[in-house]
Protein backbone atom coordinates (compact mmCIF):
# COMPACT_ATOMS: atom_id res chain seq x y z
CA UNK A 1 0.00 0.00 0.00
CA UNK A 2 1.34 3.36 -0.95
CA UNK A 3 -0.45 5.17 1.78
CA UNK A 4 1.97 4.34 4.61
CA UNK A 5 4.88 5.66 2.58
CA UNK A 6 3.07 8.88 1.79
CA UNK A 7 1.92 9.16 5.35
CA UNK A 8 5.45 8.67 6.55
CA UNK A 9 6.52 11.52 4.34
CA UNK A 10 3.75 13.67 5.69
CA UNK A 11 4.75 12.76 9.22
CA UNK A 12 8.22 14.03 8.47
CA UNK A 13 6.71 17.29 7.36
CA UNK A 14 4.20 17.33 10.15
CA UNK A 15 6.82 17.05 12.81
CA UNK A 16 8.44 20.21 11.45
CA UNK A 17 5.79 22.87 11.10
CA UNK A 18 2.75 21.93 9.05
CA UNK A 19 -0.35 20.42 10.48
CA UNK A 20 -3.20 18.89 8.56
CA UNK A 21 -6.19 19.46 10.80
CA UNK A 22 -9.37 18.88 8.86
CA UNK A 23 -7.64 18.07 5.58
CA UNK A 24 -9.36 15.35 3.60
CA UNK A 25 -8.18 13.01 0.88
CA UNK A 26 -10.76 12.61 -1.86
CA UNK A 27 -10.74 9.92 -4.52
CA UNK A 28 -12.18 10.36 -7.99
CA UNK A 29 -12.22 7.57 -10.55
CA UNK A 30 -13.12 9.36 -13.80
CA UNK A 31 -15.38 7.32 -16.05
CA UNK A 32 -15.55 9.84 -18.88
CA UNK A 33 -13.46 12.54 -20.50
CA UNK A 34 -15.78 15.16 -19.03
CA UNK A 35 -15.18 13.89 -15.53
CA UNK A 36 -11.45 13.76 -16.14
CA UNK A 37 -11.50 17.31 -17.40
CA UNK A 38 -13.38 18.57 -14.38
CA UNK A 39 -10.64 17.26 -12.14
CA UNK A 40 -7.90 18.64 -14.32
CA UNK A 41 -9.53 22.04 -14.02
CA UNK A 42 -8.90 21.81 -10.29
CA UNK A 43 -5.21 21.32 -10.86
CA UNK A 44 -4.98 24.80 -12.36
CA UNK A 45 -6.55 26.50 -9.37
CA UNK A 46 -3.38 27.15 -7.40
CA UNK A 47 -5.07 29.04 -4.61
CA UNK A 48 -6.83 25.84 -3.56
CA UNK A 49 -3.42 24.42 -2.56
CA UNK A 50 -4.41 20.92 -3.67
CA UNK A 51 -1.92 18.11 -3.26
CA UNK A 52 -2.40 15.32 -5.80
CA UNK A 53 -1.26 12.05 -4.28
CA UNK A 54 -2.32 10.29 -7.43
CA UNK A 55 -2.37 12.61 -10.38
CA UNK A 56 -4.90 12.22 -13.22
CA UNK A 57 -3.61 9.54 -15.55
CA UNK A 58 -6.56 8.33 -17.52
CA UNK A 59 -10.04 6.89 -17.42
CA UNK A 60 -10.80 4.30 -14.79
CA UNK A 61 -7.63 5.11 -12.86
CA UNK A 62 -8.01 6.62 -9.37
CA UNK A 63 -7.11 10.25 -8.68
CA UNK A 64 -6.32 10.99 -5.02
CA UNK A 65 -6.36 14.59 -3.86
CA UNK A 66 -5.40 15.96 -0.46
CA UNK A 67 -7.63 18.98 0.06
CA UNK A 68 -6.81 21.52 2.77
CA UNK A 69 -9.72 22.34 5.03
CA UNK A 70 -10.39 25.86 3.67
CA UNK A 71 -10.71 24.49 0.13
CA UNK A 72 -12.98 21.57 0.89
CA UNK A 73 -16.24 23.29 0.22
CA UNK A 74 -15.07 24.76 -3.08
CA UNK A 75 -13.65 21.48 -4.34
CA UNK A 76 -16.69 19.43 -3.43
CA UNK A 77 -19.01 22.00 -4.95
CA UNK A 78 -16.98 21.95 -8.16
CA UNK A 79 -17.09 18.16 -8.40
CA UNK A 80 -20.76 17.91 -7.52
CA UNK A 81 -21.74 20.65 -9.94
CA UNK A 82 -19.83 18.79 -12.64
CA UNK A 83 -21.59 15.53 -11.77
CA UNK A 84 -18.28 13.90 -10.78
CA UNK A 85 -18.68 11.23 -8.11
CA UNK A 86 -16.03 11.14 -5.43
CA UNK A 87 -15.40 9.35 -2.17
CA UNK A 88 -13.69 10.51 1.01
CA UNK A 89 -10.69 8.26 1.55
CA UNK A 90 -9.37 10.03 4.60
CA UNK A 91 -11.71 12.12 6.69
CA UNK A 92 -9.04 13.89 8.71
CA UNK A 93 -5.45 13.61 7.66
CA UNK A 94 -4.13 14.95 10.97
CA UNK A 95 -5.99 12.31 12.95
CA UNK A 96 -4.43 9.63 10.83
CA UNK A 97 -1.00 11.15 11.22
CA UNK A 98 -1.41 11.24 14.97
CA UNK A 99 -2.37 7.58 14.96
CA UNK A 100 0.57 6.75 12.72
CA UNK A 101 2.90 8.68 14.99
CA UNK A 102 1.63 6.77 17.97
CA UNK A 103 2.04 3.57 16.07
CA UNK A 104 5.59 4.39 15.13
CA UNK A 105 6.35 4.88 18.76
CA UNK A 106 4.87 1.49 19.38
CA UNK A 107 6.44 -0.18 16.36
CA UNK A 108 9.66 -0.60 18.23
CA UNK A 109 7.69 -3.29 19.99
CA UNK A 110 7.63 -5.80 17.15
CA UNK A 111 8.73 -9.13 18.59
CA UNK A 112 12.54 -9.04 18.52
CA UNK A 113 14.62 -11.92 17.27
CA UNK A 114 17.19 -11.75 20.04
CA UNK A 115 17.91 -9.87 23.23
CA UNK A 116 20.40 -7.64 21.45
CA UNK A 117 17.75 -6.19 19.17
CA UNK A 118 15.17 -5.91 21.95
CA UNK A 119 14.22 -2.30 22.60
CA UNK A 120 15.09 -1.56 26.24
CA UNK A 121 14.02 2.05 25.83
CA UNK A 122 10.37 1.25 25.36
CA UNK A 123 7.55 -0.09 27.50
CA UNK A 124 6.43 -3.60 26.59
CA UNK A 125 3.44 -5.86 26.89
CA UNK A 126 3.32 -9.11 28.86
CA UNK A 127 3.76 -11.17 25.70
CA UNK A 128 6.81 -9.18 24.67
CA UNK A 129 8.42 -9.58 28.08
CA UNK A 130 7.67 -13.31 28.23
CA UNK A 131 9.16 -13.64 24.78
CA UNK A 132 12.22 -11.71 25.96
CA UNK A 133 12.65 -14.11 28.87
CA UNK A 134 12.56 -17.13 26.62
CA UNK A 135 15.07 -15.55 24.28
CA UNK A 136 17.39 -14.76 27.17
CA UNK A 137 17.26 -18.33 28.41
CA UNK A 138 17.77 -19.74 24.93
CA UNK A 139 20.79 -17.51 24.38
CA UNK A 140 22.35 -18.29 27.76
CA UNK A 141 21.29 -21.80 28.76
CA UNK A 142 24.25 -22.26 31.07
CA UNK A 143 23.48 -19.17 33.10
CA UNK A 144 19.76 -18.46 32.94
CA UNK A 145 16.75 -20.64 33.57
CA UNK A 146 13.07 -19.81 33.89
CA UNK A 147 11.08 -21.08 36.84
CA UNK A 148 7.33 -21.05 37.22
CA UNK A 149 6.63 -20.48 40.90
CA UNK A 150 2.86 -20.42 40.63
CA UNK A 151 -0.12 -19.01 38.76
CA UNK A 152 -1.98 -15.75 39.19
CA UNK A 153 -5.68 -15.38 39.93
CA UNK A 154 -6.41 -15.24 36.20
CA UNK A 155 -4.12 -18.23 35.71
CA UNK A 156 -1.17 -16.40 34.24
CA UNK A 157 2.21 -18.02 34.92
CA UNK A 158 4.41 -16.42 37.55
CA UNK A 159 7.89 -16.63 36.09
CA UNK A 160 11.17 -16.11 37.89
CA UNK A 161 14.51 -15.98 36.10
CA UNK A 162 17.31 -17.79 37.89
CA UNK A 163 20.87 -16.69 37.20
CA UNK A 164 23.36 -19.28 38.43
CA UNK A 165 26.83 -20.47 37.55
CA UNK A 166 26.36 -23.72 39.42
CA UNK A 167 26.48 -25.10 42.93
CA UNK A 168 23.56 -26.42 44.91
CA UNK A 169 21.20 -24.03 46.59
CA UNK A 170 23.77 -21.28 46.83
CA UNK A 171 23.04 -18.24 48.98
CA UNK A 172 20.83 -16.09 46.82
CA UNK A 173 19.60 -12.60 46.05
CA UNK A 174 15.97 -11.98 45.14
CA UNK A 175 14.76 -9.01 43.09
CA UNK A 176 11.17 -8.40 42.08
CA UNK A 177 9.64 -5.69 39.92
CA UNK A 178 6.07 -4.86 38.96
CA UNK A 179 4.30 -6.03 42.10
CA UNK A 180 2.19 -2.89 41.67
CA UNK A 181 1.22 -3.09 38.05
CA UNK A 182 0.97 0.63 37.25
CA UNK A 183 4.60 1.21 38.18
CA UNK A 184 5.76 0.52 34.64
CA UNK A 185 9.32 1.76 34.97
CA UNK A 186 9.95 -1.13 37.36
CA UNK A 187 9.08 -3.98 34.98
CA UNK A 188 10.98 -2.15 32.26
CA UNK A 189 13.99 -1.89 34.56
CA UNK A 190 13.67 -5.55 35.47
CA UNK A 191 14.03 -6.48 31.81
CA UNK A 192 17.16 -4.36 31.60
CA UNK A 193 18.59 -5.88 34.79
CA UNK A 194 18.16 -9.37 33.31
CA UNK A 195 20.13 -8.43 30.23
CA UNK A 196 22.72 -6.61 32.33
CA UNK A 197 23.39 -9.67 34.48
CA UNK A 198 23.99 -11.74 31.37
CA UNK A 199 26.28 -9.11 29.86
CA UNK A 200 28.31 -8.69 33.05
CA UNK A 201 28.78 -12.42 33.22
CA UNK A 202 29.87 -12.62 29.58
CA UNK A 203 32.37 -9.79 30.06
CA UNK A 204 33.52 -11.05 33.45
CA UNK A 205 32.82 -7.73 35.14
CA UNK A 206 30.26 -6.19 37.46
CA UNK A 207 28.10 -8.88 39.03
CA UNK A 208 30.16 -11.70 37.49
CA UNK A 209 32.04 -11.96 40.78
CA UNK A 210 28.79 -12.15 42.73
CA UNK A 211 27.62 -14.99 40.50
CA UNK A 212 30.68 -16.99 41.47
CA UNK A 213 29.27 -17.61 44.90
CA UNK A 214 25.63 -16.57 44.79
CA UNK A 215 22.52 -17.02 42.65
CA UNK A 216 20.22 -14.21 41.56
CA UNK A 217 16.46 -14.65 41.24
CA UNK A 218 14.54 -12.02 39.29
CA UNK A 219 10.77 -11.87 39.01
CA UNK A 220 10.06 -9.22 36.40
CA UNK A 221 6.27 -9.37 36.20
CA UNK A 222 5.25 -10.03 39.75
CA UNK A 223 1.63 -9.05 39.16
CA UNK A 224 0.79 -10.18 35.60
CA UNK A 225 -2.99 -9.84 35.91
CA UNK A 226 -2.64 -6.24 37.02
CA UNK A 227 -0.07 -5.58 34.34
CA UNK A 228 -2.33 -6.92 31.60
CA UNK A 229 -5.09 -4.71 32.97
CA UNK A 230 -2.90 -1.62 32.77
CA UNK A 231 -2.39 -2.33 29.10
CA UNK A 232 -6.00 -3.00 28.24
CA UNK A 233 -8.33 -1.20 30.60
CA UNK A 234 -6.83 1.04 33.23
CA UNK A 235 -3.28 2.30 33.06
CA UNK A 236 -3.40 3.29 36.74
CA UNK A 237 -4.39 -0.11 38.18
CA UNK A 238 -2.30 -1.06 41.19
CA UNK A 239 -3.65 -4.20 42.81
CA UNK A 240 -4.15 -7.82 41.82
CA UNK A 241 -7.34 -8.82 40.01
CA UNK A 242 -8.80 -11.17 42.54
CA UNK A 243 -12.45 -11.23 43.53
CA UNK A 244 -13.21 -12.17 47.08
CA UNK A 245 -16.72 -13.01 48.13
CA UNK A 246 -18.76 -10.27 49.70
CA UNK A 247 -17.64 -7.45 47.47
CA UNK A 248 -18.15 -6.21 43.96
CA UNK A 249 -14.75 -4.58 44.06
CA UNK A 250 -11.73 -6.25 42.55
CA UNK A 251 -8.18 -6.64 43.71
CA UNK A 252 -5.96 -6.80 46.75
CA UNK A 253 -2.89 -4.64 47.37
CA UNK A 254 -0.10 -7.20 47.09
CA UNK A 255 2.09 -5.03 49.28
CA UNK A 256 -0.33 -5.25 52.20
CA UNK A 257 -1.06 -8.95 51.90
CA UNK A 258 2.04 -10.35 53.61
CA UNK A 259 2.04 -11.85 57.07
CA UNK A 260 3.76 -9.04 58.96
CA UNK A 261 1.48 -6.87 61.02
CA UNK A 262 -1.27 -8.06 58.68
CA UNK A 263 -4.48 -6.10 59.02
CA UNK A 264 -3.04 -3.57 61.43
CA UNK A 265 -2.99 0.18 60.89
CA UNK A 266 -1.39 0.99 57.57
CA UNK A 267 -3.69 -1.05 55.35
CA UNK A 268 -7.37 -0.94 54.53
CA UNK A 269 -10.05 -3.52 55.24
CA UNK A 270 -12.25 -2.06 52.51
CA UNK A 271 -12.04 -4.15 49.32
CA UNK A 272 -12.80 -1.07 47.22
CA UNK A 273 -9.63 0.75 48.23
CA UNK A 274 -6.14 0.68 46.78
CA UNK A 275 -4.51 -0.53 49.98
CA UNK A 276 -6.96 -3.35 50.73
CA UNK A 277 -4.98 -6.02 52.54
CA UNK A 278 -7.16 -8.93 51.45
CA UNK A 279 -9.24 -11.37 53.51
CA UNK A 280 -6.19 -13.04 55.10
CA UNK A 281 -2.39 -13.10 54.69
CA UNK A 282 -1.15 -14.64 51.45
CA UNK A 283 -4.66 -14.77 50.05
CA UNK A 284 -3.15 -13.61 46.78
CA UNK A 285 -1.43 -16.35 44.73
CA UNK A 286 1.07 -13.75 43.54
CA UNK A 287 2.17 -13.32 47.15
CA UNK A 288 1.75 -16.92 48.28
CA UNK A 289 3.97 -18.23 45.51
CA UNK A 290 6.84 -16.01 46.61
CA UNK A 291 6.30 -16.96 50.25
CA UNK A 292 6.43 -20.65 49.32
CA UNK A 293 9.48 -20.12 47.17
CA UNK A 294 11.40 -18.21 49.83
CA UNK A 295 10.57 -20.76 52.52
CA UNK A 296 11.48 -23.77 50.45
CA UNK A 297 14.66 -22.20 49.12
CA UNK A 298 15.76 -21.37 52.63
CA UNK A 299 18.98 -19.63 51.61
CA UNK A 300 18.01 -16.18 50.39
CA UNK A 301 20.27 -13.54 51.88
CA UNK A 302 19.03 -10.35 50.25
CA UNK A 303 15.51 -9.47 49.12
CA UNK A 304 14.79 -6.36 47.09
CA UNK A 305 11.29 -5.37 46.01
CA UNK A 306 11.06 -2.57 43.49
CA UNK A 307 8.34 0.06 43.20
CA UNK A 308 7.87 3.52 41.81
CA UNK A 309 7.63 6.45 42.31
CA UNK A 310 9.25 8.78 44.90
CA UNK A 311 13.00 8.16 44.67
CA UNK A 312 13.49 6.38 47.96
CA UNK A 313 15.45 3.45 49.33
CA UNK A 314 13.62 1.88 52.24
CA UNK A 315 14.25 -0.83 54.81
CA UNK A 316 11.87 -2.35 57.39
CA UNK A 317 9.65 -1.78 59.28
CA UNK A 318 6.49 -0.26 57.91
CA UNK A 319 4.03 -1.77 60.35
CA UNK A 320 5.69 -0.66 63.58
CA UNK A 321 7.86 2.18 64.85
CA UNK A 322 10.13 -0.33 66.60
CA UNK A 323 13.42 -0.17 64.71
CA UNK A 324 14.82 -3.40 63.28
CA UNK A 325 17.79 -4.82 65.21
CA UNK A 326 19.99 -4.32 62.12
CA UNK A 327 18.87 -0.74 61.70
CA UNK A 328 22.34 0.73 61.77
CA UNK A 329 23.82 -1.61 59.24
CA UNK A 330 20.86 -1.29 56.87
CA UNK A 331 21.09 2.46 57.17
CA UNK A 332 24.78 2.46 56.30
CA UNK A 333 24.25 0.18 53.32
CA UNK A 334 21.41 2.43 52.17
CA UNK A 335 23.61 5.51 52.38
CA UNK A 336 26.23 3.81 50.22
CA UNK A 337 23.68 2.52 47.74
CA UNK A 338 22.03 5.90 47.35
CA UNK A 339 25.40 7.59 46.85
CA UNK A 340 26.23 5.12 44.10
CA UNK A 341 22.87 5.72 42.45
CA UNK A 342 23.25 9.49 42.50
CA UNK A 343 26.75 9.32 41.11
CA UNK A 344 25.48 8.51 37.64
CA UNK A 345 22.96 11.26 36.81
CA UNK A 346 22.66 13.22 40.05
CA UNK A 347 19.26 11.74 40.84
CA UNK A 348 18.41 12.54 44.46
CA UNK A 349 17.17 9.77 46.71
CA UNK A 350 16.16 9.73 50.37
CA UNK A 351 16.47 6.64 52.53
CA UNK A 352 15.34 5.24 55.86
CA UNK A 353 12.82 2.86 57.36
CA UNK A 354 9.42 2.70 55.70
CA UNK A 355 7.50 4.08 58.65
CA UNK A 356 9.82 7.02 59.27
CA UNK A 357 10.41 7.89 55.63
CA UNK A 358 6.99 7.57 54.03
CA UNK A 359 4.14 6.31 56.16
CA UNK A 360 2.88 3.42 58.21
CA UNK A 361 2.15 0.42 56.01
CA UNK A 362 1.29 -3.02 57.32
CA UNK A 363 1.46 -6.44 55.68
CA UNK A 364 4.35 -5.31 53.48
CA UNK A 365 6.77 -7.53 51.59
CA UNK A 366 10.06 -6.65 53.18
CA UNK A 367 8.69 -6.58 56.70
CA UNK A 368 7.80 -10.24 56.19
CA UNK A 369 11.07 -11.18 54.52
CA UNK A 370 13.06 -9.45 57.26
CA UNK A 371 11.14 -11.33 59.92
CA UNK A 372 11.98 -14.54 58.05
CA UNK A 373 15.61 -13.79 58.72
CA UNK A 374 16.52 -12.14 55.42
CA UNK A 375 18.54 -9.34 56.89
CA UNK A 376 19.16 -7.38 53.68
CA UNK A 377 15.55 -6.58 52.87
CA UNK A 378 15.06 -3.39 50.89
CA UNK A 379 12.41 -1.63 48.86
CA UNK A 380 13.14 0.90 46.14
CA UNK A 381 10.84 3.62 44.94
CA UNK A 382 12.23 4.61 41.55
CA UNK A 383 11.84 7.81 39.49
CA UNK A 384 10.36 10.33 39.58
CA UNK A 385 9.02 12.49 42.41
CA UNK A 386 5.62 13.26 40.92
CA UNK A 387 5.98 15.28 37.74
CA UNK A 388 5.16 12.24 35.61
CA UNK A 389 4.68 9.80 38.48
CA UNK A 390 3.51 6.46 37.18
CA UNK A 391 3.54 7.73 33.59
CA UNK A 392 7.30 8.10 33.41
CA UNK A 393 8.39 8.86 29.83
CA UNK A 394 9.97 5.87 28.12
CA UNK A 395 13.15 7.81 27.49
CA UNK A 396 13.79 7.71 31.24
CA UNK A 397 13.72 3.91 31.43
CA UNK A 398 17.38 3.46 30.59
CA UNK A 399 18.83 6.10 32.95
CA UNK A 400 16.55 4.85 35.72
CA UNK A 401 17.61 1.23 35.25
CA UNK A 402 21.28 2.17 34.98
CA UNK A 403 21.40 4.25 38.13
CA UNK A 404 19.29 1.79 40.12
CA UNK A 405 21.61 -1.01 39.11
CA UNK A 406 24.51 0.75 40.80
CA UNK A 407 22.57 0.81 44.06
CA UNK A 408 21.56 -2.82 43.65
CA UNK A 409 25.18 -3.78 43.18
CA UNK A 410 26.13 -2.11 46.45
CA UNK A 411 23.49 -4.15 48.26
CA UNK A 412 24.41 -7.40 46.49
CA UNK A 413 28.11 -6.93 47.11
CA UNK A 414 27.49 -6.15 50.76
CA UNK A 415 25.42 -9.31 51.09
CA UNK A 416 28.13 -11.34 49.40
CA UNK A 417 30.82 -9.93 51.70
CA UNK A 418 28.74 -10.29 54.84
CA UNK A 419 27.12 -13.68 54.52
CA UNK A 420 25.34 -14.89 57.59
Amino acid sequence: MRLPVLLAALVAVATCTETFFGHQVLRVVPQSDEELQKVQELQDLEHLQLDFWLAPRGLGVPIDIRVPFPSLQAVKAHLEAGGVPYSIMIEDVQALLDEEQAQMLRSSRQLPLNTDTFNYEAYHTIEEIYSFMDLLVAENPNLVSKLEIGRSTENRPLYVLKFSTGGTNRPAIWIDTGIHSREWVTQASGVWFAKKIVQDHANNEGVASILETMDIFLEIITNPDGFAFTHTKNRLWRKTRSKHSGSICVGVDPNRNWDAGFGEAGASSNPCTETYHGPYPNSEPEVKSIVDFVKSHGNIKAFISIHSYSQLLLYPYGYTTTPVPDQQELDEVSAKAVAALSSLYGTKYKYGSIITTIYRASGGTIDWTYNQGIKYSFTFELRDTGRYGFLLPAKQILPTAEETWLALKVIMEHARDNLY
Partner: protein, 197 residues
Protein backbone atom coordinates in the same frame (compact mmCIF):
# COMPACT_ATOMS: atom_id res chain seq x y z
CA UNK B 1 2.33 23.09 70.00
CA UNK B 2 0.26 21.94 72.93
CA UNK B 3 -3.36 23.11 72.88
CA UNK B 4 -2.74 24.82 69.57
CA UNK B 5 -1.96 22.30 66.85
CA UNK B 6 1.03 21.24 64.78
CA UNK B 7 3.42 23.73 63.27
CA UNK B 8 5.81 22.88 60.46
CA UNK B 9 8.84 24.86 59.42
CA UNK B 10 9.75 24.34 55.80
CA UNK B 11 12.70 25.24 53.69
CA UNK B 12 12.55 24.14 50.11
CA UNK B 13 13.76 24.84 46.61
CA UNK B 14 11.53 25.10 43.58
CA UNK B 15 12.09 24.24 39.96
CA UNK B 16 10.46 25.05 36.66
CA UNK B 17 7.94 22.31 35.97
CA UNK B 18 8.77 22.20 32.30
CA UNK B 19 12.53 22.58 32.22
CA UNK B 20 13.64 21.54 35.69
CA UNK B 21 15.58 24.79 36.03
CA UNK B 22 16.02 26.18 39.51
CA UNK B 23 13.20 28.65 40.17
CA UNK B 24 14.10 29.93 43.62
CA UNK B 25 13.96 29.00 47.29
CA UNK B 26 11.20 29.39 49.84
CA UNK B 27 10.84 29.60 53.58
CA UNK B 28 7.45 28.77 55.03
CA UNK B 29 5.59 27.94 58.19
CA UNK B 30 2.42 25.89 58.15
CA UNK B 31 0.22 25.68 61.22
CA UNK B 32 -2.47 23.01 61.37
CA UNK B 33 -4.85 24.11 64.11
CA UNK B 34 -6.19 21.51 66.54
CA UNK B 35 -9.76 21.88 65.28
CA UNK B 36 -10.32 20.97 61.64
CA UNK B 37 -9.88 24.05 59.48
CA UNK B 38 -7.55 25.11 56.71
CA UNK B 39 -3.94 25.55 57.78
CA UNK B 40 -2.37 28.93 58.36
CA UNK B 41 0.46 29.48 55.92
CA UNK B 42 3.11 32.13 55.77
CA UNK B 43 5.61 31.93 52.98
CA UNK B 44 8.43 33.91 51.45
CA UNK B 45 10.24 32.97 48.25
CA UNK B 46 13.23 34.18 46.31
CA UNK B 47 12.78 34.43 42.56
CA UNK B 48 15.18 33.58 39.80
CA UNK B 49 13.06 35.21 37.13
CA UNK B 50 11.92 38.80 37.01
CA UNK B 51 8.41 39.95 36.16
CA UNK B 52 9.35 40.76 32.58
CA UNK B 53 10.71 37.27 31.88
CA UNK B 54 7.64 35.68 33.40
CA UNK B 55 5.35 37.89 31.34
CA UNK B 56 7.19 36.98 28.15
CA UNK B 57 6.93 33.28 28.89
CA UNK B 58 3.24 33.62 29.68
CA UNK B 59 2.68 35.43 26.40
CA UNK B 60 4.52 32.77 24.47
CA UNK B 61 2.41 30.09 26.11
CA UNK B 62 -0.72 32.09 25.32
CA UNK B 63 0.23 32.49 21.66
CA UNK B 64 0.85 28.77 21.29
CA UNK B 65 -2.65 28.08 22.57
CA UNK B 66 -4.32 30.75 20.40
CA UNK B 67 -2.49 29.50 17.33
CA UNK B 68 -4.39 26.23 17.01
CA UNK B 69 -6.73 25.98 13.99
CA UNK B 70 -9.52 24.40 15.94
CA UNK B 71 -10.49 23.99 19.59
CA UNK B 72 -8.22 21.56 21.36
CA UNK B 73 -9.64 18.24 22.42
CA UNK B 74 -7.42 15.45 23.63
CA UNK B 75 -7.23 12.47 25.95
CA UNK B 76 -4.55 10.95 28.14
CA UNK B 77 -1.83 13.50 28.64
CA UNK B 78 0.74 12.07 29.15
CA UNK B 79 -0.21 8.84 27.41
CA UNK B 80 0.49 5.43 28.89
CA UNK B 81 4.10 5.69 27.76
CA UNK B 82 4.68 9.03 29.46
CA UNK B 83 4.62 10.87 26.14
CA UNK B 84 3.17 14.34 25.68
CA UNK B 85 2.53 15.57 22.16
CA UNK B 86 4.51 18.84 21.78
CA UNK B 87 1.40 20.60 20.46
CA UNK B 88 -0.37 19.70 23.69
CA UNK B 89 2.31 20.88 26.09
CA UNK B 90 0.73 24.30 26.71
CA UNK B 91 -2.60 22.67 27.45
CA UNK B 92 -0.91 20.28 29.87
CA UNK B 93 0.93 23.14 31.49
CA UNK B 94 -2.33 24.93 32.25
CA UNK B 95 -3.75 21.70 33.67
CA UNK B 96 -0.77 21.46 36.00
CA UNK B 97 -1.38 24.99 37.24
CA UNK B 98 -5.13 24.45 37.61
CA UNK B 99 -4.66 21.11 39.37
CA UNK B 100 -2.30 22.69 41.84
CA UNK B 101 -5.19 24.82 43.01
CA UNK B 102 -7.30 21.71 43.57
CA UNK B 103 -4.45 20.09 45.46
CA UNK B 104 -3.94 23.21 47.52
CA UNK B 105 -7.53 23.02 48.66
CA UNK B 106 -7.67 19.26 49.19
CA UNK B 107 -4.38 18.64 50.97
CA UNK B 108 -4.40 18.09 54.68
CA UNK B 109 -1.80 17.31 57.29
CA UNK B 110 -2.14 13.65 56.32
CA UNK B 111 -3.26 13.67 52.69
CA UNK B 112 -1.09 14.73 49.78
CA UNK B 113 -1.58 14.81 46.01
CA UNK B 114 0.17 14.62 42.70
CA UNK B 115 -1.20 15.09 39.20
CA UNK B 116 -1.22 11.58 37.73
CA UNK B 117 -2.72 12.29 34.32
CA UNK B 118 -4.91 14.65 32.33
CA UNK B 119 -7.63 12.24 31.28
CA UNK B 120 -9.32 14.60 28.86
CA UNK B 121 -9.37 18.21 27.80
CA UNK B 122 -11.80 20.23 25.81
CA UNK B 123 -11.28 23.84 24.84
CA UNK B 124 -14.10 26.35 24.77
CA UNK B 125 -13.70 29.21 22.32
CA UNK B 126 -14.66 32.54 23.81
CA UNK B 127 -15.53 35.84 22.22
CA UNK B 128 -13.05 37.65 24.43
CA UNK B 129 -9.30 37.00 24.65
CA UNK B 130 -9.45 34.55 27.53
CA UNK B 131 -8.58 30.92 26.92
CA UNK B 132 -10.95 28.42 28.52
CA UNK B 133 -10.61 24.71 29.10
CA UNK B 134 -12.58 21.87 30.60
CA UNK B 135 -10.41 19.12 32.03
CA UNK B 136 -10.82 15.78 33.68
CA UNK B 137 -7.70 15.30 35.77
CA UNK B 138 -6.63 12.29 37.79
CA UNK B 139 -4.97 13.02 41.10
CA UNK B 140 -2.83 10.47 42.92
CA UNK B 141 -3.54 10.64 46.63
CA UNK B 142 -1.03 9.56 49.28
CA UNK B 143 -0.83 7.63 51.49
CA UNK B 144 -4.11 6.05 50.41
CA UNK B 145 -2.79 5.45 46.87
CA UNK B 146 -6.21 6.30 45.50
CA UNK B 147 -6.73 7.89 42.10
CA UNK B 148 -9.22 10.74 42.40
CA UNK B 149 -11.02 12.03 39.34
CA UNK B 150 -11.67 15.76 39.27
CA UNK B 151 -13.39 18.02 36.81
CA UNK B 152 -11.53 21.26 36.31
CA UNK B 153 -12.74 24.35 34.48
CA UNK B 154 -10.11 26.96 33.91
CA UNK B 155 -9.91 30.37 32.25
CA UNK B 156 -6.74 32.33 31.67
CA UNK B 157 -5.31 35.42 30.07
CA UNK B 158 -1.70 36.47 30.64
CA UNK B 159 -1.51 39.11 33.31
CA UNK B 160 -4.63 37.78 35.03
CA UNK B 161 -4.88 35.20 37.78
CA UNK B 162 -5.90 31.73 36.70
CA UNK B 163 -9.62 31.25 37.39
CA UNK B 164 -10.38 27.74 38.45
CA UNK B 165 -13.57 25.84 39.29
CA UNK B 166 -13.33 22.21 40.26
CA UNK B 167 -15.39 19.25 41.35
CA UNK B 168 -13.85 16.00 42.51
CA UNK B 169 -15.77 12.73 42.36
CA UNK B 170 -16.58 11.46 45.85
CA UNK B 171 -14.71 8.34 46.93
CA UNK B 172 -16.65 5.10 47.48
CA UNK B 173 -15.04 4.49 50.82
CA UNK B 174 -16.80 3.22 53.90
CA UNK B 175 -16.06 5.47 56.80
CA UNK B 176 -15.03 8.34 54.56
CA UNK B 177 -16.24 11.77 55.62
CA UNK B 178 -18.65 11.77 52.63
CA UNK B 179 -16.92 14.28 50.38
CA UNK B 180 -19.64 16.20 48.62
CA UNK B 181 -19.45 18.77 45.88
CA UNK B 182 -16.37 20.87 46.13
CA UNK B 183 -15.86 23.89 44.00
CA UNK B 184 -13.80 26.96 44.31
CA UNK B 185 -11.97 29.46 42.25
CA UNK B 186 -8.43 30.17 43.14
CA UNK B 187 -6.14 33.10 42.92
CA UNK B 188 -3.32 31.84 45.09
CA UNK B 189 0.20 33.26 45.03
CA UNK B 190 1.25 31.07 42.12
CA UNK B 191 -1.80 32.03 40.11
CA UNK B 192 -1.23 35.71 40.68
CA UNK B 193 1.98 35.45 38.70
CA UNK B 194 0.23 33.61 35.94
CA UNK B 195 1.51 30.31 34.67
CA UNK B 196 5.19 30.05 35.40
CA UNK B 197 6.62 27.05 33.62
Amino acid sequence: IPESGHKYYLQFSTEDYRTGEDAGNCLATVLYPKKKSPPVVSIKCSHTKDQKEIQEEDNRLYQRIRHQNKPVTANNIPDSYGHIEPALEPVWALAVAGSSSIMWEKSTETLGYSLAQVKSVRQWIRKDDFTEFDYTVLLHETPTQEIISCHLRLTWLPGHPLRVKHFCAPQSRAGDEGSGAESGSAAGPAAAKGANF
